[in-house]
């Protein structure tokens, strides 16, 4: 019996426990004169029984599985011939890996000797004993749980309170998962970054002007030492984000103003969802568009005007990215403009303002904090965007502010550093984590500011 089978059986027992508990509560209530004497509704007695059946059994089950492999490994090693046991810890680990692979029927690094083969048999034997015993233990505990619940169910039992407390714990666990995941991500990135900063000083990374992370495999190769100055990469991100924002902020804001202040209901009903569809297009499709349509157009136009435009340019990527984030700006701005109270508009019109005066002097100032929040969110979206830039802006880290040249961004560099087979201790690979860390900090700060500003804005009109 594998652990999966045990688990399925446990679930079935739970279902049985639920029914049994419910029946039991009816039965005990009947003696005292009907279900109204019960403290809680019958389903709670059923649920409580199911919980008693499942929770202790699951705890035992998972802790058993957690320690199983360690204990079995230990037992197997102690049975190995002495010359293997005397190997260094690393080599012993490799041997154990071979044994486990043999057990699981995977490919083994070399033909197994008789000692290894017998160890594998031993391992398998121990494993099946362990699985069988955990199955018996778990099922006995589950049944015991049901029986105990049967014994305790009586009308006074506050089943609802117990069940709801368990549900609350479950909710707490779920709500903290996101938090702990974030912490985990930060810690792992931080850990690798610190390793990187041991090789490349923080100062050199943050302020270095040259980025060429190619490390030679042999020391006599040309360009054997990489340069890890992140300025060109961040400059590229900055340049493309600025281009994207200078497209999306005016267009998005004006479309929001049109939609909320001028457009009639029918136009609005059509245009707003259409605009939001823009946000649903996968970024890789925008990437095609940027690389195949926009970049050539820009190059041809540039040539026509006698400019030197590279075929992959910051301008192409920035423009398309700007189009991509228009819906963020416009839909958030539209929301905040609509949230400006009608009484303010009335007040302005009542003083004889024209519509555009009302918008410029009353509505936009009132909505400004919310709009700023929306723009900051759009900016952090632009900074984190990868796909369009990979396809349209190129990979070479030029330190330039000329939008017609090829640039690269932080996210693109992270991708290129980590694509393919990597050794996870070379500074080239580790550099990706350092970039990720800085990027994370920057977008985090932007988001915090944006949320703060938006919250402030909400308070003003509540």
């Amino acid at each position: 019996m594998t652990p999966t089978h045990t688990l399925i059986l446990l679930l079935l027992l739970c279902a049985v426990g639920y029914q049994v508990g419910k029946k039991r509560s009816f039965a005990v209530a009947k003696i005292r004169g009907g279900p109204r004497v019960l403290h809680s509704r019958p389903v709670y007695y059923g649920s409580l029984t199911a919980l008693w059946c499942a929770v202790p059994a699951l705890i035992v089950f998972s802790s058993w599985l957690m320690f199983e492999s360690g204990i079995i490994t230990h037992l197997v090693i102690s049975q190995l011939p002495d010359h293997i046991q005397d190997l260094s810890a690393d080599r012993l680990n490799l041997v154990m890996n071979d044994i486990r692979n043999l057990v699981n029927g995977n490919i083994v690094s070399k033909a197994a000797g008789p000692a290894i083969q017998s160890a594998a048999d031993h391992y398998q034997q121990l494993q099946s004993i362990s699985h069988a015993s955990v199955a018996v233990l778990v099922l006995v505990m589950a049944i015991a749980g049901i029986m105990a619940a049967q014994y305790y169910i009586r009308p006074e039992l506050r089943a609802r309170n117990h069940v709801e407390r368990m549900i609350r714990y479950l909710l707490i666990v779920c709500s903290t998962i996101a938090i702990f995941t974030t912490i985990g991500i930060v810690l792992s990135v931080l850990y690798e970054s610190i390793r990187f900063f041991k090789i490349v000083p923080v100062f050199e990374f943050l302020f270095g002007l040259e980025w060429s992370p190619q490390m030679a495999i042999r020391s006599d190769q040309v360009g054997s030492s990489g340069a890890f100055g992140a300025i060109p990469v961040f400059m590229g991100t900055f340049l493309i984000s600025v281009i994207a924002l200078s497209v999306s902020v005016p267009v998005g804001l004006m479309s929001a103003i049109y939609l909320s202040e001028y457009a009639n209901k029918r136009f609005r009903a059509v245009a707003k969802p259409l605009l939001e569809i823009l946000a649903g297009i996968p970024t890789v499709v925008y990437g095609f568009f940027a690389a195949l349509v926009v970049a050539p157009v820009i190059r041809n136009t540039g040539e026509f005007m006698g400019l030197d435009v590279s075929s992959e340019s910051a301008l192409a990527a920035g423009l398309v990215m700007g189009i991509m984030i228009i819906p963020f700006v416009s839909s958030l701005s539209d929301d905040v403009i609509n949230a400006v109270p009608q009484s303010l508009r009335d007040g302005a019109y009542g003083l004889g303002s024209t519509q555009s005066e009302t918008i410029r002097y009353v509505i936009l100032p009132a909505a400004l904090p919310g709009i700023v929040g929306g723009v900051l969110l759009a900016a952090s979206r632009a900074i984190g965007e990868t796909m369009i830039v990979v396809m349209a802006a190129g990979l070479s880290a030029n330190l330039t502010l000329n939008p017609l040249e090829t640039v690269t961004t932080v996210t693109v560099q992270i991708v290129t550093l980590l694509v393919g087979d990597q050794e996870f201790d070379s500074s080239k690979t580790l550099a990706a984590f350092a970039l990720g860390l800085v990027l994370f900090i920057v977008t985090l700060i932007l988001n915090v500011i944006a949320l703060y500003v938006v919250r402030k804005y909400r308070e003003q009109y509540e």
């Binding site: 009639n264 209901k265 109270p341 009484s343 303010l344 508009r345 009335d346 007040g347 302005a348 019109y349 009542g350 003083l351 004889g352 303002s353 024209t354 005066e357 002097y361 009353v362 100032p365 009132a366 003003q460």
Partner: protein, 300 residues
């Protein structure tokens, strides 16, 4: 409510003279005009009118819904005229016609003739922007702009080009706040946001803002309904003072307020102007049965 309203539409055709005692209610006093009579009683004309409304009807939702029907009424020079009536009877709709605020509502249609100094304000040649400076409006809920106290006042004069430089603006801000009786309370904090004031102060700020653009008529739509009694009393005194310089039309749901501040009162009911007259007469000797019922609290 809706059925009652529909019923009343058909009743409008009933002639004033055909008041039939058989269908009248039990509270009917013999000398009063019958409830069924929807034509306006009382004197709608004044000797020297500032504004004149003739047969004004307003429809919402592109003509689907009639909100007021054939209202004719004069607004005199330097008088306060109060509009009273149960909610939904069209008081706000009526005064919003006087500065064409209803133009900002999609689907609102205004028919009839409204003149300001004998010029038809609904004429094609009339621009609403200067009109609304001439006929200012104060709203039910104080609605200061999200700007400083100073800028709240200075905004109107600036857009209308009434001030040329900083010192003129300063003077106008000061005199407007003084006339609204707010100057002493705010003179040390003109740069604070208008929203930081109390409700009553905000409403006086809105009045100051309105008079800063030098209007001739001021419309007030329940200006005190969001305020406490003390702030209300201050505003009522202010209205009485402002009467020296402006014509004022005020909507109120408080009959005490109408009797305290106004010289004439107009009673609306379900979209019809039922009765107009000197305030004292409306409250002491109404001519119409409905007016009588309303001021004695039989409905409303």
């Amino acid at each position: 409510m809706q059925t009652e309203k529909n019923a009343s539409v058909s009743r409008t055709s009933v002639d004033a003279a055909s008041g039939n005692p058989a269908v009248a209610g039990k509270h009917r006093k013999p000398h009063l005009v019958d409830r069924e009579n929807r034509a306006t009683v009382g004197e709608i004309n004044v000797p020297n009118p500032k504004m004149q409304c003739r047969d004004v009807s307003v429809f919402y939702d592109y003509g689907e819904k009639e909100a007021i029907r054939k209202v004719s009424l004069d607004i005199g020079q330097n008088e306060v005229i109060a509009m009273i009536g149960p909610s939904g009877c069209g008081k706000s709709t009526f005064i919003r016609c006087l500065n064409r605020m209803n133009d900002t509502i999609d689907g609102c249609v205004v028919k009839g003739r409204i003149t300001l100094d004998e010029i038809n304000i609904y004429d094609k040649s009339i621009d609403v922007v200067p009109l609304r400076a001439q006929v200012g409006m104060v709203f039910q809920k104080p609605n200061p702009f999200p700007k400083s106290i100073y800028d709240n006042i200075a905004y109107g004069p600036k857009i209308h080009g009434l001030v040329q430089n900083k010192s003129e603006t300063d003077d106008l801000v000061e005199s407007s706040l003084k006339r609204a009786g707010l100057w002493n309370e705010v003179k040390d904090r003109l740069d604070q946001p208008g929203t930081s004031l109390s409700g009553g102060q905000q409403q006086r700020l809105c009045i100051a803002r309105t008079i800063a653009v030098d209007p001739e008529v001021i419309l007030m739509d329940e200006p005190c309904s969001a305020l406490d009694p003390i702030a209300t009393a201050i505003i009522e005194d202010l209205i009485d003072e402002l009467r020296q310089e402006y014509s004022i039309a005020i909507v109120t749901h408080s009959m005490q307020q109408a009797s305290r501040v106004s010289q004439r009162t107009a009673f609306f009911h379900l979209g019809d102007l039922i009765e107009v007259g000197p305030t004292e007469q409306i409250f002491l000797n109404p001519l119409h049965q409905l007016t009588h019922d309303y001021i004695t609290g039989r409905f409303g």
